[in-house]
């Protein structure tokens, strides 16, 4: 079915606009960009996707070997850009997908023009001289949380499914909503996300990069955002007033404004 169907790719916005590929992070799907993308659809071609195992992606396409590292996910991004034949793309990646976007830019510099890293972290675990914010035990606890909430997810989904039955015209939108994730794949993705170390890749990012750093983000503390900005050659660090880890949800206006201020400085492509 190709990358388009595999990753539930949706394309909207202005047809001749500069393409922007929005990539969701761990625990969610493309719905988490719903407050952000409308602000770009008049000027840009907006491309959304779900990682395999998330949202409306083809869960059967999940291959534990391919997705054992973030590179497998980055390869998916590149395949999407190739399939749509997009160039000079702005990749906007949240959380772990900020790093996945960086890896895609390294793989396909001819297709990627700029990178926006929202709440990025190249390594979540503490290391000698590096504060990622977490000890290994926290990751094991997270995996327990995922298991413990296996049933919780299905009950959280119940109203969605009911609403869907009553309002079939919203079927597609509703059933693809709210972070539907295959539990087994979510476990794998949690491991890959929180145990990977991509610090060395930052220096190889070949495109102008915007780093958006929230206040009081336990997942990606301020020092980590600063580290990312220091390592990427052409990086701009913007500290948001927004707190937490998901400014695309909690402070969409501020997030949009920061991206809009950054884009003109990285050209409109060729």
């Amino acid at each position: 079915m190709g990358a388009f169907g595999r990753n539930n790719v949706t394309v909207s916005g202005r047809e001749d606009g500069r393409p922007m590929l929005f990539v969701h992070g761990f625990g969610c799907d493309q719905q988490m960009w719903r407050y952000v993308t409308p602000e770009f659809s008049d000027t840009h071609r907006v491309v959304l996707m779900d990682h395999v195992g998330h949202g409306g992606s083809d869960h059967a396409a999940y291959d534990p070997a391919r997705y054992a590292t973030l590179d497998g996910y980055a390869a998916d991004l590149v395949e999407i850009l190739e399939e749509l034949d997009l160039r000079d793309v702005v990749i906007v990646g949240h959380s772990v997908s900020a790093m996945i976007g960086a890896l895609a830019a390294i793989r396909a510099p001819q297709r990627v023009g700029a990178l926006v890293m929202v709440s990025p972290s190249p390594r979540y675990l503490d290391d000698d001289g590096y504060v990622g914010g977490f000890q290994r035990e926290a990751i094991e606890e997270l995996l327990d949380s995922l298991d413990a909430n296996y049933l919780g997810w299905s009950s959280a989904m119940a109203p969605v499914i009911m609403g869907n039955a009553e309002r079939p015209e919203l079927g597609q939108e509703l059933t693809s909503s709210f972070c539907r994730t295959n539990p087994d794949i979510a476990r794998d993705f949690a491991r890959v996300t929180f145990l990977s170390d991509n610090r060395a890749d930052l220096a190889r990012v070949p495109v102008p990069t915007l780093v958006l750093q929230c206040a009081e983000d336990v997942l990606a503390p301020d020092a980590v955002g600063q580290y990312v900005a220091d390592q990427v050659a052409d990086a701009t660090l913007v500290r948001l007033r927004a707190t937490g880890h998901c400014p695309n949800l909690s402070a969409p206006e501020e997030t949009v404004a920061a991206i809009k201020a950054f884009l003109p400085r990285v050209g409109a492509g060729v």
């Binding site: 977490f134 606890e141 995922l146 709210f178």
Partner: protein
């Protein structure tokens, strides 16, 4: 409300009525049988009830205006909060029955189930998050036990599947061997999921004199016992075929071996000895022990069954089978099959002998492997892709003249 004066009368001398009617909202809030928290959209706590403080040992003055809800969670829970809880709450306005661990003042963990609702202003902007907290210590322990049980079940299921597949592969040749001058094709398709060892088997092997033997059989039942009988049948036929050249004698030895089993097991087997003759003909000596008769496919005739029926094996002390001999001229084929073919069903309808003959007639020019595969594909399509019984087909064809 009309009952109230009567209630008041009845309760005269008991605790004041207003306590029984829950008119004290503060008391109702503070001593509710659940923890109750209110927080700003960023998680900063603005109100906490007494039940929550009592459960956790935390102090109101340390929480309100000072700490965020997510900071009360274990580190793993904090990640879960940031990656799942908060996004879902923002997008759907509520989340419920989320399992988290709350860290008490003494550092111990309280397993909890939490529900949250998001209070929004008229424009949909978030104002407050209201959260109820339920102590789920025992429930969580029970759920952990369920999870462990599920993991164990999945592990044993996986082991059983590997075992069944390994056993199956040892009983069914991965592909029929190349036989000089004879074109042999074979297909085996286990029923449904393939988690159990099926009862059908086939074998193709060389005999000392340069002849070849073809065996196809169907053991009653499935699973480990059926696999044991299949293995016995297969090895017995191989051994008997060396001692006996007559097909009916081979089947008789198998019958005796089956009767020596403690557990009564019966099976149907067709056995054929193939001998090449000058000019490309293949002489087939064969007999059936209760097994469906093979179908002869020639260039002109309508495909028809060949040979004589014989007794089921493993039931009676003497199983009678009569051997037949026929000659395959170059291009002719003899197709052995199990009843998974003819008894394949679509609703109440069987695939049957007529369809089988027709399917082979359209493939009379085909080589043995595509002939067998095409037949099985047609049967699978007929039964909607899900065979209820195992299917085995072995086609032998005298190699056509070059």
């Amino acid at each position: 409300m009309s009952d109230l004066p009567a209630a008041a009368e009845r309760l005269d001398g008991d605790p004041p009525l207003h306590e029984l009617l829950e008119r004290d909202a503060d008391d109702l809030y503070d001593h509710a049988p659940c923890g109750y928290l209110s927080a700003l959209p960023d998680g900063t706590l603005v109100k906490v009830n007494t039940t929550f403080l009592r459960w956790t040992g935390l102090r109101r003055e340390d929480l309100v205006g000072r700490r965020r809800f997510q900071e009360l969670l274990s580190p793993g829970g904090q990640i879960y909060h940031e990656t799942h809880y908060a996004p879902m709450l923002r997008m759907q306005g509520s989340v419920r029955e989320i399992a988290v661990d709350i860290v008490r003042a003494d550092g111990s963990r309280m397993p909890a189930l939490v529900n949250s609702t998001l209070k929004q202003d008229a424009d949909g902007n978030p104002l407050l998050v209201r959260t109820t907290v339920f102590d789920a210590t025992e429930r969580r322990e029970y759920e952990r036990e369920l999870l462990r049980a599920r993991q164990r079940a999945e592990e044993s299921e996986a082991r059983a599947r590997v075992l069944a597949q390994t056993l199956q592969q040892s009983l069914i040749p991965p592909a029929p061997p190349a036989v000089p001058g004879i074109d042999v094709g074979a297909v085996y398709r286990p029923a449904l999921s393939g988690e159990e060892v099926g009862g059908d088997f086939y074998d193709v092997f060389e005999l000392p004199a340069g002849d070849w033997a073809v065996v196809i059989g169907d053991v009653c039942g499935k699973g480990a016992q059926a696999a044991a009988v299949t293995a016995l049948a297969r090895h017995t036929v191989r051994a008997a075929a060396i001692r006996e050249s007559r097909p009916e004698a081979v089947l008789s030895l198998l019958n005796q071996a089956l009767l020596r089993q403690d557990a009564p097991r019966f099976c149907t087997v067709a056995y054929a000895r193939l001998a090449r003759r000058p000019g490309g003909d293949v002489e087939v000596h064969f007999a059936s022990g209760g097994h469906p008769l093979p179908i002869l496919v020639t260039g002109t005739m309508r495909p028809r069954s060949a040979g004589r029926p014989g007794d089921l094996l493993g039931v009676m002390p003497e199983a009678t089978a009569e051997a037949s001999t026929l000659v395959l001229e170059p291009g002719d084929a003899l197709v052995f099959f199990t009843d998974g073919i003819t008894e394949a069903r679509r609703g109440e309808e069987f695939y049957g002998d007529e369809r089988l003959a027709a399917a082979l007639a359209t493939r009379r020019e085909a080589a043995a492997q595509p002939m067998a595969q095409g037949l099985v594909d047609e049967v699978l399509a007929f039964s909607g892709g899900l065979p209820r019984d195992d299917i085995a087909v072995v086609a032998v064809r005298a190699a056509p003249a070059a």
